[in-house]
């Protein structure tokens, strides 16, 4: 929680700095568009505002605004419009327009009570700044307040160049957000960066190419190129909604499955949910990545589903008290059911080892995922306390877990559990 408070101001600072600088530069250099260019710029600005408004976010996904980013890249790269006319504004003006459009969209979202992410919005601004400065100032050598010079390259080479610049910009964006995220969480930078790239690669490519295509199609088509070439992205937005609803369906099915054993009377009410919540806290304590935490949560929610096959319920649904052979049979049934979904293989892999004693790691060198060890410990703790929250129930449970420390349970996980339940003193 602390972290999110710390990184938002940094992003805000960068964003406001960018806004003020570019607006000032624009005014000082009189880097303003003339007559016909105003229409061109306002279409781009409108698309950026709309794109920011309809931004995408989903759990386990890097938030993005593909339409806004593509439109901003298009604005930065477009230098020629029909009839051989070159636009008369430069980098400072492009960035000022982008910044103002982003501020308008963000302010509207705040007023409408929707969530905003300053880190992500500022990241997009950083990316646009990289494209604009590299293409207009470094490559074309355009000076403020003058007409953009024409590009001597043949179309396909120009396309390749623009594409390269756009990809570079997107990498900068990811780097920017990763640094801020790494500042906030205890996670390390490299892993955050790799994860962010992986979760957004496909969408980023579509964005980069769309920005380039707008710039290339502007000379023959004029400003109509902007909405036309953004169209595939808009359609993809709908597909993304569908994707999110698919994820929601799976999530709902997990919740339903995790409740099945409650409804059928095999486990005490809310057992799976409690194990899931505590497992995630322990996992966070041990520095797992967001993706691993998601798998861990799903696995924890489903860890007892195999009990439905039992003829007679185990007393209290406490698998920790069942014979090892029975535990393994429940485990096998659980894994079979979870595998059937075909999408939660990550969770299934965790569940395959949820009953394996820790000693097999130490003595036989068997590879058991840390997440499986977490579920084993947390499940034992929940089974032993049986939902009771009193200090006595807690101490009794921990005492029993201590008996199996190093043999059944991973000491590192048990330590993390103690920290998570706010009982650090018991370690002594």
């Amino acid at each position: 929680m602390n972290g999110t408070l710390r990184r938002e101001p940094v992003a805000l600072l960068v964003g406001v700095l960018g806004l003020v600088t570019t607006v000032l530069l624009t005014l000082v250099d009189r880097d303003l568009p003339e007559g016909g260019d105003v229409g061109v710029v306002s279409v781009f600005a409108l698309m950026i505002v709309l794109g920011e408004w309809f931004r995408l976010s989903a759990p386990g996904f890097r938030g993005s605004a593909p339409i806004a980013t593509a439109a901003a890249f298009g604005l930065a790269l477009t230098t020629e419009v029909p009839a051989g006319h070159f636009v008369g504004y430069g980098a400072a003006f492009v960035l000022a327009v982008t910044a103002v459009a982003m501020v308008i969209a963000t302010a509207t979202r705040v007023l409408a009570g929707r969530e905003v992410s300053l880190v992500e919005t500022t990241g997009r601004f950083v990316a646009t700044a990289v494209v604009t400065l590299v293409y207009r100032n470094v490559y074309l050598g355009q000076s403020p307040g003058t007409e953009a010079p024409s590009d001597p390259l043949p179309p396909w080479q120009r396309a390749a160049l623009m594409l390269g610049i756009s990809v570079l910009a997107l990498v900068c964006d990811t780097l920017f957000t990763s640094v801020l995220r790494a500042l906030a969480a205890t996670a390390n930078l490299r892993r955050t960066f790799v994860e962010e790239v992986r979760s957004s690669f496909a969408m980023s490519m579509a964005v980069a190419v769309t920005g380039v295509l707008i710039a290339l199609a502007a000379p023959p088509m004029g400003i109509a190129a902007v909405p036309l070439f953004l169209m595939p992205l808009v359609l993809t937005l709908f597909a993304f909604r569908r994707y999110v609803s698919i994820r929601a369906t799976y999530l709902q099915s997990i919740r339903t499955l995790s409740r099945l054993t409650d409804v059928a009377g095999y486990t005490p009410a809310g057992h799976s949910e409690r194990v899931a919540a505590l497992s995630v806290r322990v996992g966070r304590e041990l520095g797992l990545s967001e993706r691993e935490l998601l798998d861990l949560e799903y696995a924890a929610l489903l860890h007892d589903i195999g009990q439905v096959a039992l003829v007679e319920p185990i007393p209290g649904g406490a698998t920790v008290l069942a014979a090892p052979a029975d535990q393994r049979r429940i485990e096998a049934d659980t894994v079979a059911i979870v595998r059937e979904t075909g999408v939660f293989d990550g969770a299934a892999r965790i569940l395959e080892h949820q009953t394996t004693p820790y000693r097999q790691v130490r003595e036989l060198g068997e590879e058991i995922p840390l997440t499986s060890r977490i579920i084993k410990v947390v499940n034992a703790y929940e089974d032993l306390t049986a939902g009771a929250r009193s200090a006595r129930a807690r101490e009794a449970a921990i005492e029993r877990i201590y008996l199996g420390l190093g043999y059944e349970y991973d000491p590192r996980v048990v330590d993390a559990l103690l920290t998570s339940i706010g009982n650090g003193s018991a370690q002594a």
Partner: protein, 411 residues
């Protein structure tokens, strides 16, 4: 035949774009989503065919459509399926190209300049060609499927158009963008590389349509598997009831959405058994007391409560809850009567009762079974919906006894 005709009468395309677009066609076909549960393959071939219509003309589009299907890594496709695919895609390509020409589409794209002309001579003709191609695709697929799998023709056509029609036509805009990049923007063949990004985005979007259907199937299957670990016989029973219920729903002429609800209801109609003590389920029917019988019968209420919270099963819930209602109003749990009972519940009531007649593969001829089923439905006049009963008998006569395997088209 169409190919020869368009070779003779149409223009002859340049070789380089022809090969390039054919290669993209092959690529798109091989990148298609493997069809596991749904029989409809999703690929961006449609966009390539549309582009070919403008850039290559009728013969070229015909050739691209045919060539895309020839190279196929999948060895399981039977020769007549492949032949059908070749015929279908080449027809779609050639007809699309003719529609483009009829609508005044430009053949020499180099000379088209300016926004207005581009829209009039390329954009509009392409949109019309796109819609026509989408319809041909749906009708040809529907025809083939209704021929081989006896799914009613219109049911299948509607299913395709409802599920992917909008996306098919919408993504046609990429074809237009492709043409613009190729000629007016002067990128030539390099545009193929750039346009791959939107094409792959389109493919991803098409995949989501399939994924959505598949996610529903998987969730239902998972629930059935959970039930199966407790009561193994229930899995096949559910599959047979689902098959019979789906046939019945088709006979009654329900829409694609309704049919899906009926199938989910039927597949999950016993999911509440998870909440019934296992010892009761394993006892033979004679040894169960009246009180225990009532406990078992409460499974439909429990089942409906179990799947609460899964959005797409929301409509199936009421079907599961009311499966033991009587048509004359004397049933449980709520005593609904006639049309108040959800149609899914009425169908599943009949299908489950008929299925229960024949446990296992007994060597009885189909006509004898149908007579038995008809007698069962008559034996208790107030219990079943007569319309659903009649439709079930018709379905049995048409399809035979449900086997529970290969439930046909499951989209």
């Amino acid at each position: 035949m169409l190919g020869i005709f368009s070779w003779v009468h149409g223009r002859h395309p340049d070789l380089a774009p022809l090969l390039l677009l054919s290669a993209m066609g092959v690529l798109s076909f091989n990148l298609r989503e493997p069809t596991v549960t749904s029989r409809i393959g999703f690929s961006f071939l449609s966009i390539i065919l549309l582009t070919s219509a403008a850039i290559l003309g009728p013969f070229g589009a015909w050739f691209v459509g045919a060539a895309s299907q020839v190279v196929d890594r999948d060895g399981n496709v039977k020769w007549f399926q492949r032949l059908f695919n070749v015929a279908m895609n080449s027809t779609i390509g050639a007809v699309g190209a003719y529609v483009y020409l009829v609508m005044g589409g430009a053949e020499d794209l180099d000379r088209v300049t300016g926004f207005g002309e581009l829209i009039r001579h390329v954009g509009l003709p392409l949109i019309v060609a796109d819609v026509v191609q989408c319809l041909i695709n749906a009708v040809l697929l529907g025809g083939a499927v209704s021929l081989f799998q006896r799914v009613p023709f219109w049911v299948f056509v509607r299913r395709i158009l409802v599920s992917s029609g909008v996306a098919y036509i919408g993504y046609g805009v990429i074809g237009f963008l492709f043409v613009i990049l190729w000629y007016p923007a002067g990128l030539g063949a390099f545009s193929a590389l750039l346009v791959m990004a939107p094409l792959l985005a389109a493919r991803w979007a098409f995949v989501q349509f399939g994924e959505e259907l598949r996610s529903h199937e998987r969730v239902v299957e998972t629930l059935v598997t959970a039930l199966g670990t407790k009561e193994p016989a229930a899995v096949e029973r559910s599959a047979r009831v689902a098959q019979l219920a789906e046939w019945t729903a088709e006979e009654l002429g329900l829409g694609p959405r309704q049919i899906a609800i009926v199938r989910y209801t039927a597949t999950l109609h016993e999911v509440g058994h998870l909440g019934v003590p296992a010892r009761l389920l394993r006892r033979s029917p004679e040894a169960i007391s009246a009180a225990e019988r009532r406990a078992i019968d409460r499974h439909c209420v429990a089942g409906a409560r179990m799947i609460e919270g899964i959005d797409f099963l929301e409509d199936a819930r009421s079907g599961i809850r009311h499966q033991h209602e009587r048509f004359d109003g004397g049933g449980t749990p709520d005593g609904l009567a006639g049309q108040e009972i959800p149609v899914a519940a009425r169908i599943v009531a009949v299908a489950a009762a008929v299925e229960a007649l024949m446990p296992g593969p007994v060597d009885v001829t189909l006509p004898a079974r149908v007579v038995d089923a008809a007698r069962l439905l008559r034996s208790d006049p107030g219990r079943f919906d007569p319309a659903a009963g009649a439709a079930t008998i018709e379905a049995l006569e048409k399809h035979g006894w449900p086997s529970g395997v290969g439930t046909g088209v499951t989209t």
